[in-house]
């Protein structure tokens, strides 16, 4: 090769190598494909920064237990070890801290600040797990409501009232998650009156539970008292969206000998307490997630303003993002010491397409932002869900161009083409995305179209062939007789 070409080749190679040198440190992201495998996909989220207490400007946080980000980006951190609430803006720059709480003109003794929630007007609700109280205060620490355990006989010496997390709906009703309570969340109205329990889970009817039920019907009362009770699992964390739907996450564990599976872990409760979550994930991908979900232990869940469900798990430090139909967008994160990994993730929140994860052991908040790939995916999903099906085709094509492992892009394209009635393209993309249900829908339409066009010829052909066979047999019989 002549010298000039060699020099150009060397520069090109070193330029290529430089690209790898300046790649961002990020955890490897993956998705599930319909062969029940996890496949690598480009990162949907990138680490933006990792902020400790000293970066915020309030001194180190000490074992913080909860975090809440309001719709305008104000971050409230329950700094449990230091018994204060730290308030920052969305860039995690300190606004103020609340350390002294005042109730009825006297300083209030708060034993611990465990969970925190802020409503749209800035009223702060927090729980005190050690003391067994739930407080409502304003941003200066003036408490105007203190709730204690309800006196209906559920809580006694055996069942302690340990309120851990709190959420509040738009009418001011207060939902409190207490440890060890299987009847659901404790519900108070906005004046503090106990209203009952909300949203108990269902016991999964496995074979062992059904056989237990049969044997119990034959026992007398003293024997029944000695057998183990079958109760639904308690929820681990919950979040509320702006339409007052409550999203809960439950850990899989053993309930009377049965093991709950992962996708049941997420529930979307309507105000009546029934689960209305629809799951459109392809069957094989769902089974793979359930299989791996047994090793996961979700600790917090968050619903973003665009209706994406985020969940963080503490066994592997994994963050999952699902869209409205429970399709898995991405899974990333791990346990470790780098940026983008955690030691003990305990809370997850979101604001403006950024994810905030609170780590209890390193006392830091890691902020993730969307990558270009992630922005295109979110754009495609949001456009499709708003009803502009044809406009969603270009973003999905871009996503598919970047990663052929990302089957959701092909399924999204198939759905988009189905909605604009272009069935040939739809069936082509469903085949690429290996979605047999979508393929079936497109196939029904294509077959109907084909029959509509060609039914005349098909029936005519059958009549002619049948007639021809009849005539031929007639002639063969005549020749045989002769």
């Amino acid at each position: 090769m002549p010298l000039s070409k060699r020099i150009i080749a060397v520069f090109a190679m070193s330029a290529l190598m430089l690209i790898f040198c300046c790649s961002n440190v990020s955890a490897e992201s993956y998705v599930y494909n319909s062969y029940k495998e996890t496949v690598n996909a480009p990162d949907v989220y990138d680490v933006l920064e990792k902020i400790t207490g000293s970066d915020i400007g309030c001194g180190t946080l000490k074992a913080p237990e909860d975090m809440f980000v309001t719709d305008d980006g104000t971050v409230y951190i329950a700094d449990t070890g230091n018994k204060r609430i730290v308030i920052t803006d969305s860039n995690l720059v300190l606004i103020k801290t609340i350390e002294d709480f005042v109730m009825d003109e006297k300083p209030a003794k708060i034993k611990e600040i465990t969970g925190v929630f802020v409503d749209t007007e800035g009223t702060i609700y927090f729980t005190d797990a050690k003391g067994g109280y739930i407080y409502r205060c304003d941003e200066n620490g003036n408490i105007d409501l203190r709730l204690k355990q309800p006196e209906n006989g559920v809580f006694d010496e055996e069942t302690l009232f340990v309120p851990e997390e709190v959420i509040v709906d738009r009418s001011g009703n207060i939902y409190v998650k207490c440890t060890g309570i299987y009847q659901g969340s404790v519900l108070y109205d906005k004046n503090g009156d106990f209203q009952g329990f909300f949203g108990a889970d269902n016991v999964e009817e496995t074979q062992s539970i059904v056989s237990d039920y049969f044997w119990k019907s034959l026992m007398n009362d003293t024997q029944k008292e000695q057998t183990a009770r079958v109760v639904p699992p308690e929820i681990r964390a919950f979040d509320i969206d702006d339409e007052d739907f409550i999203y809960t996450v439950t850990n899989s564990g053993t309930t009377a000998g049965s093991t709950k599976i992962a996708m049941d872990k997420f529930r979307k409760l309507n105000p009546k307490g029934s689960d209305v979550l629809i799951n459109k994930m392809p069957r094989e991908a769902k089974m793979a997630l359930e299989r791996d979900g047994l090793a996961l232990a979700f600790v917090d869940v968050n619903i973003t303003s665009d209706d994406y469900l985020l969940a963080v798990d503490k066994n592997f430090g994994r963050i999952f993002e699902f869209d409205r139909d429970m399709n898995l967008i991405t899974a990333f994160g791990s346990i470790g010491n780098e940026y983008g990994t955690f030691q003990n993730p305990i809370a997850i929140e979101s604001f403006n397409n950024n994810i905030y994860v609170l780590d209890k052991t390193t006392c830091s908040v890691t902020v993730f932002g969307l990558t270009e790939f992630g922005t295109t995916i979110h754009e495609a999903i949001n456009i499709y869900n708003s009803g502009y099906y044809e406009k969603a085709i270009d973003p999905w094509l871009e996503v598919a161009a970047r990663s052929s492992n990302y089957e959701l892009a092909f399924v999204g394209l198939g759905n988009a083409y189905m909605n604009i009635h272009d069935y040939e393209k739809a069936i082509h993309y469903f085949e690429l995305g290996r979605d047999s249900e979508g393929y079936n829908d497109a196939f029904i339409e294509l077959r109907a179209q084909f029959l509509r066009k060609n039914l005349v010829y098909i029936v005519g052909g059958i009549v002619i062939i049948a007639g021809g066979i009849y005539v031929a047999l007639h002639f063969i019989r005549r020749r045989k007789k002769a």
């Binding site: 047999s436 249900e437 079936n440 196939f443």
Partner: protein, 205 residues
């Protein structure tokens, strides 16, 4: 009747057809191999040509050779188990005849599977229930033909045939267990020899 017409004759007359085939000595090994090839072909074609609205197979996991070997091995094991147990109940069929009988009886199942593969390309998911029924009927026909074949060739009565079928299934389980045992024993021997080898190599270095 020519030898290659017997399988279709047996499908039309499953009850007396086997007696007729036995006394006219119409059982042919060559025809059974043709049916075997059709069976293997059907197992392979199922992966690529069933309609996509039912199931998406992983194309990278399709292996023609192992599918063919598993099919042939399964048939051999079933025949061997049946032959071994029928000796105990005084059955009178030879191994060759048992092999031919199993393959002739599988013909309805094979044909309905081909129909399934063809129809699955023009049928939707909800209508797919009906073509599944077809395959099930093919399997039922196979079972009827096997029972009659045993009654004709082994000269069992009906109860003894059912018992021999159960014993055959038991025999298949025993044979598979023995195969697994042998393979794991081979693995143990191989790992012992290789451990000794590596010990020697590392000590004398």
């Amino acid at each position: 009747m020519k030898k290659y017409q017997y399988p279709f004759y047996l499908m039309r007359h499953p009850f007396e057809g086997f007696y007729e085939m036995r006394y006219k000595k119409g059982a042919s090994l060559g025809v059974s191999f043709v049916i075997l090839i059709a069976f293997i072909l059907q197992s392979i074609i199922k992966y690529t040509y069933t309609g996509k609205q039912f199931v998406f197979y992983d194309i990278t996991e399709i292996n023609i050779i192992t599918t063919a070997i598993y099919t042939i091995a399964a048939l051999l094991i079933v025949c061997a188990s049946n032959w071994a147990f029928s000796v105990l109940i005084e059955g009178k069929a030879t191994f060759r005849e048992i092999w031919i009988l199993f393959l002739y009886s599988l013909l309805p199942y094979i044909i309905t599977n081909y129909i399934y593969i063809i129809l699955s390309n023009v049928v939707t998911e909800s209508e797919g229930v009906f073509i599944n029924v077809l395959v099930f009927l093919g399997g039922a026909m196979t079972l009827i033909m096997i029972i009659n074949a045993f009654m004709a060739y082994h000269e069992f009565n009906f109860t003894t045939t059912l018992i021999s079928l159960l014993l055959t299934v038991l025999g298949v389980a025993i044979i598979l267990f023995l195969i697994i045992l042998i393979i794991s024993l081979f693995q143990q021997v191989a790992s012992t020899i290789s451990t000794i080898f590596y010990e020697a190599v590392f000590r004398f270095k």
